[in-house]
Amino acid sequence: MAGFKGRHIVHIEDLSVEEMQHIMGVAAKMVPVARGERKSTAAQGKVLASLFFEPSTRTRLSFEASMERLGGAAIGFSDPDVSSVAKGETLADTIRVISSYADIIVLRHPREGASRLATKFSSVPVINGGDGAGQHPTQTLLDLFTIQQETGKIAGSHVGIVGDLKYGRTVHSLANALARFGAEITFVSPPQLQMPSEQVARLKETGASIKATQDLNAVIPSLDVIYVTRIQKERYPDATEYAKVAGSYQITADLLSQAKKHAVVLHPLPRVGEIKEDVDSTPHARYFQQSFNGVPVRMAILALLLGVVE
């Protein structure tokens, strides 16, 4: 395993399974600090620049909270329109300038490949905080961490990924990582929102066990993890068609009565109607924990790339 110091994290495939495991191990140690129960000064004097060219308040706050919890500081912007730093200049120039102010950069950009480009012009590590419909590797790592923490293992777990698998930003990289860990994956989606065949072909190259179905009810009893994503209304020109599809993929407490006792329900949040509120009080609901896990996982990533932990 190569050291993390000074590296970039752009694509989940930039990390080996061993490296992902290492990040999760460090994240587990960060949990008490992330909760505020213990203090850390690991990143004292270090500055994170969070450059958000499109709004994603949760992701940004999660990164900034992570840096603060490590004893470091955060600067940045979340609206390029009011930010003179990014106005009328190329992303390349913005990165060249900002990387002279900060020790590490997290970039969120509407264009796919923006973070890869940033790595070519940055003198400090770049973390991809999401690019267009492309990658969002830290979300994938916190999803993996949650599965690991909640079910005890990733290899051999049966993970159902439910909802919009065609456009869903998070699911392509999650599926890639799960496949490499040796999880069993079942895709559950309406035909219009199936995982693109190119993605499926790439997953099959890993030798992973992959199935697909439209029938959530049939597959629920065999799942260890039910990973739910949002089905966006804009994908459906016809409102009644949307209502039908959205309804058939709604997780309810009643539906979960058929699930394994220890099955967990995850969701990248925010949810719209995919998970009914009556699920929140069941032991299956782990999506708020998942959301919290963003902090220790991002702390681990920041600390490793800054070289302040090994």
Partner: protein, 165 residues
Amino acid sequence: MNTEVVSQKEMKVSPIRNGTVIDHITPGMALKVLRILGLPREGSRSVVSAIMNVPSESGRRKDIVKIEDRELEPEEVDRISLIAPNATINIIRDYEVAEKHKVALPERAEGTVACSNPNCITNARDEFGRREPVLASFRVIAKEKPVLRCDYCDRDVVNIADQIM
């Protein structure tokens, strides 16, 4: 050398004395081959000819490109393998084929192909029409029917001919 076959082809257009003949180009691709090679060069007086839809010995059709007074380097023409994987390069000296190569697919493509993903950062333009200061670059991930994977957005380009810059 195989002068007979070449002179047969030469009947369509007058034979060239010195230069390069690119043969067995996938039909319809001759003009794109010229585009990749940046031909004809501005200011150059050498004759460049593109002959399209020529019946070949095998009964299929092909395109041919002839470039007078220039011997293209094998590396230079390998880039055309992205769109014409069966092309052959004949270097002509004094009306004879002095050298003959098959094009070989390179490992990478840089600056010749645009990414087919409209949302790719390499296709971004700012309000003044400026692009980011990088060349689109790709890894060749399939050789039989070439597929390129974008180094930036990670999407695959399948219809390479449509994306030639």
